[in-house]
């Protein structure tokens, strides 16, 4: 049965983020007044934090996952970590845990157990800063993702299949990435195909479409290209989606969002990365 491999230190899995850092990502989400690049960076930093915390034990962080964050924009296609992980393409989770670029302190209100709230300080590490400049070399970015995944699968042929999450607001400026997306989708471990999320976001978030099983409502060829490039959500992810969204997705639902606001980006990441069978 596909997608049943245990994720362990001996058999880790991996998450790859491919993030559009082109100039248009500096537009602000109308709903929250924050630049899309900043909201996406916050979201990815928060995801990394939560994953590290989840895999942390008293003696350190267990390498159940390896992580890659690839950015594409003015500087071409390159690893997007900053600080101690600058230029690192793929890092085990423990290395990520121990090398944030900086750690900010934030206050958080938590329950005091007696119906009230108390303020507590939490540490908020940052690995990845917002960047928004230049064009949108999406084809090259997917070529890089293919290289990373090919190498990973050669070294981990039986792993729980990697998940690739692509977040963008614009159209490719270096040619059609469809072939690279199709190739990426077709890569597989013995436990199943990798899962590619195409998450399109927009400042106004008008007419959002998410996790649809049909291309009928898509407005244009560009949307169709992202839809076709996205994987069909495996059953276990549709179950996760049910928990996250509270409603059932049709069989054939795609790992695809069009015109999403930041909440839909977060939802897609949650559906794509909720862990399974950690050992």
């Amino acid at each position: 049965m596909p997608y049943s491999a245990e994720i362990s230190r001996e058999a880790p899995s991996c998450f790859v983020f491919v993030i559009d850092q082109s100039g248009s990502m500096s537009d602000k989400f109308v709903s929250i007044g924050t630049p899309m690049s900043q909201a996406v960076a916050d979201t990815v930093n928060r995801f990394l934090q939560q994953l590290v915390i989840m895999c942390a034990k008293a003696d350190g962080v267990r390498d159940y996952y390896y992580i890659s964050v690839i950015g594409y924009g003015a500087g071409g296609v390159r690893p997007a970590f900053t600080g101690g992980l600058a230029n690192v393409e793929l890092a085990p989770l423990s290395q990520i845990a121990n090398n944030p670029a900086r750690i900010e302190e934030r206050t958080k209100k938590v329950s005091d157990g007696a119906g009230g709230l108390v303020q507590t300080t939490i540490k908020f590490p940052i690995w990845f800063d917002a960047t928004a400049a230049g064009g949108t070399p999406m084809r090259e970015a997917f070529s890089k993702a293919n290289q990373i995944i090919e190498r990973w699968l050669t070294e981990h042929p039986n792993c729980f299949p990697p998940v690739v999450i692509h977040i963008t607001d614009g159209e490719s400026t270096d040619g059609d990435p469809s072939a690279e997306m199709q190739h990426l989708q077709s890569q597989a471990s013995s436990d199943g195909n990798i899962i590619l999320f195409n998450v399109h976001t927009s400042a106004r978030s008008t007419n959002p479409i998410s996790f649809t099983a049909s291309a009928a409502q898509l407005p244009d060829q560009y949307a169709l290209m992202l839809y076709n490039g996205a994987s069909v959500l495996p059953d276990f992810m549709r179950k996760t989606a049910m928990e996250v969204l509270g409603y059932e997705l049709n069989e054939g639902a795609k790992a695809f969002v069009l015109n999403g606001d930041i909440d839909l980006v977060v939802t897609a990441i949650e559906i794509g990365t909720r862990p399974k069978l950690l050992r």
Binding site: E6, S8, R9, Q49, V52, I53, A58, A97, I103, K123
Partner: protein, 252 residues
């Protein structure tokens, strides 16, 4: 009055070291002495998802030796807080311990004079009572579907605790007979037992037979490795305590 004999084995999940085994148990050292009026056993399974859950499980079973369940919980929380606050923690542990550690707990007190047992159990670490080769009690989980990835757990931070008054976690005054066998098992093994019970296989026989061996622990390890390899049991930290009750010699 009854006398008890017991056997224990604990094995980490495949891929983990002995030190990473987060199952902890307590077995009364004097349990096998003649004329002991009551004995205690405890077993706790620290949750993989939380940090410092091994020491949480350990403090729970240690405190149960001398205290009631309520007092055990109170003392273990204090011990856990002291332990986790004595050192400067990296950012991820600083954040993670705000949610506390979690563990199952099974505590068994046998009154050998009155032939009775009190069992307290939170989560899916399970108690089984076998009499005349029949399973007469499985607690708190009594069917295979009761094992899922979200068992009730004891939390080291009170704000994270599932309200205990919403679950049935005590079974009091269970009658004990000479000849009864009690089995305490963490979830993987308890699940294995209950699945096979539904097929009328009397699966406990396999485990009880191992007590005939001079090296019970090794027998259990060998069996567990093979059963894991056959994918018939979940790869998880696994602990087994078998307690046999016999007629004790009456003291003059």
């Amino acid at each position: 009055m009854l006398q008890c004999h017991y056997w224990v084995a604990t094995v980490p999940k495949k891929g983990s070291t002995e030190e990473e085994n987060e199952d902890f148990y307590f077995a009364d050292h004097s349990a096998e002495s003649e004329g002991i009026p009551s004995v205690k056993f405890a077993l706790s399974d620290g949750a993989t998802e939380s940090a410092f859950s091994g020491i949480w499980a350990e403090y729970l079973v240690i405190n149960f030796e001398k205290h009631s369940f309520d007092k055990t919980l109170e003392l273990a929380i204090a011990d856990w807080n002291r332990e986790t606050q004595k050192q400067e923690l990296p950012w991820y542990l600083h954040n993670k311990i705000l949610d506390g550690a979690h563990a199952t707990f099974l505590g068994v007190e046998l009154n050998l004079v009155e032939h009775q047992a009190n069992v307290v159990a939170v989560g899916d670490t399970n108690f089984f009572q076998i009499r005349d080769n029949f399973l007469i009690k499985a607690f708190p989980v009594d069917e295979p579907s009761g094992f899922n990835n979200q068992p009730n757990l004891l939390a080291s931070v009170t704000t994270q605790q599932t309200p205990l008054d919403e679950i049935k976690y005590e079974s009091k005054n269970l009658a004990l007979n000479a000849g009864d066998t009690l089995i305490l098992a963490t979830d993987a093994l308890a699940h294995w037992l209950l699945i096979r019970c539904t097929k009328d296989n009397k699966p406990w026989s396999t485990l009880i037979e191992m007590t005939q061996s001079d090296d019970f622990e090794q027998q259990f390890v060998n069996w567990l490795m093979q059963t894991r390899q056959d994918k018939a049991i979940k790869n998880d930290d696994t602990t087994l305590i078998i307690i046999k009750l016999t007629d004790g010699l009456s003291k003059g």
